[in-house]
C-alpha cells in the first residue's frame, strides 16, 4: 500500500483540477513522440508524424493525449489503490497494445515537463516530488500485469 501524506494528496488533486486535460494530454503525448522518436512505433496508424510540427498539429495525437489524461484521472480519484484500479489497463497495454513498459516512464517525464511549464515557479521542488511519486506509482501499476 502506498502511503500518501496530506501534502501529496492535496498537491495531486490541485494539479489535476487545474489541468486542461485536452491541452496537457496532447502536449505531453506530442512531446513524447518528438523527444523520444522510437515511441512512434505504437502509432503507425496516426498518419503524418514526419517532423515536430506535424506531430504537434496531428489531430489523432491530440485526441489520444486526451484519452491518456482521462486514464490518469482514474488514478487521481483512486490514490489509495492505484494498483487495482489499473489492473485491466495493465493487461490491455501488455496483451493487446504490446507497449514496452519502459515507455511509460518517458511519457510520465514529458507530462512532468508540461505541468512544470504551466505552473512555472509554483512547481516547487516539493510539488515536483509529489507529482513524480504519483507518476512512479502509476507507471509501476501499469507494468504490473506484464508476464
Amino acid at each position: 500500500m502506498v502511503e500518501w501524506t496530506e501534502f501529496e494528496r492535496s498537491t495531486i488533486a490541485d494539479i489535476f483540477s487545474k489541468l486542461n486535460y485536452d491541452v496537457a494530454g496532447s502536449n505531453a503525448l506530442a512531446r513524447c513522440l518528438v523527444v523520444y522518436p522510437w515511441t512512434q512505433r505504437y502509432f503507425g496508424k496516426f498518419g503524418n508524424l514526419y517532423n515536430a510540427a506535424a506531430i504537434m498539429g496531428n489531430p489523432m495525437v491530440a485526441a489520444h493525449g486526451t484519452v491518456v489524461l482521462h486514464g490518469l484521472d482514474k488514478a487521481v480519484k483512486n490514490m489509495d489503490d492505484i494498483k487495482a484500479t489499473y489492473a485491466e489497463l495493465s493487461v490491455l497495454h501488455s496483451e493487446k497494445l504490446h507497449v514496452d513498459p519502459d515507455n511509460f516512464k518517458l511519457l510520465a517525464d514529458c507530462l512532468t515537463i508540461v505541468v512544470a511549464s504551466q505552473m512555472g515557479s509554483a512547481f516547487t521542488p516539493q510539488v515536483q516530488a509529489a507529482l513524480q511519486k504519483f507518476l512512479a506509482v502509476v507507471v509501476s501499476s501499469l507494468g504490473r500485469q506484464y508476464h
Partner: protein, 143 residues
C-alpha cells in the same frame, strides 16, 4: 544518438537566451535533485544546510552550471573538452554516473518552469541529447 549540426545550433541558440540566469537555474536544479531524489543527498553529507536557496546549494549550483557552460563551448568535442572534469568525477568525487541522468532531468524541469515559451519540444530533444552526451563524456574516465 550523437549531436547533429541542428542539435548543436539549437543548444547554442537556447544557451544564449538562458545564460544570464545560469546561476539561478543551476541552484534550482540542484535543490530539486536533493528534494525529489533524496538518495543524492549522500554526496553532500559535508554541507550544513541542504535546503533550497541555502548558501552551499547556491554556490554549488553555480559551479555545476559553469561546467555546463564550458561544455556548450566545447560541444564539438565533449570527450576531450571535458577530460579533466571527467577525471575529477571519476577519481575524486566518484559520483555514480546514474546520478548524471537525475540531475539532467532536474535541469530540464527548471528550464520548463523558467522558459515555458522557449522550451519547445524541438529545444527539449536537443537539450536532452546534449545533456546525455555531456554525461557520457563526464563518465569517460570512470573505467
Amino acid at each position: 544518438m550523437s549531436l547533429s549540426a541542428k542539435d548543436k545550433a539549437t543548444v547554442r541558440a537556447f544557451w544564449e537566451k538562458i545564460a544570464g540566469k545560469a546561476d539561478d537555474i543551476g541552484s534550482d536544479a540542484l535543490a530539486r535533485m536533493l528534494t525529489v531524489y533524496p538518495q543524492t543527498k549522500t554526496y553532500f553529507s559535508h554541507w550544513k544546510d541542504l535546503s533550497s536557496g541555502s548558501a552551499p546549494v547556491r554556490k554549488h549550483g553555480k559551479v555545476v552550471m559553469d561546467g555546463v557552460a564550458d561544455a556548450v563551448s566545447k560541444i564539438d568535442d565533449l570527450k576531450s573538452g571535458l577530460l579533466s572534469l571527467s577525471e575529477l568525477h571519476a577519481f575524486q568525487l566518484r559520483v555514480d554516473p546514474a546520478n548524471f541522468k537525475i540531475l539532467s532531468h532536474c535541469l530540464l524541469v527548471v528550464l520548463a518552469t523558467q522558459f515555458p515559451g522557449d522550451f519547445t519540444p524541438e529545444v527539449h530533444i536537443s537539450m536532452d541529447k546534449f545533456l546525455a552526451a555531456l554525461s557520457l563524456a563526464l563518465a569517460e574516465k570512470y573505467r
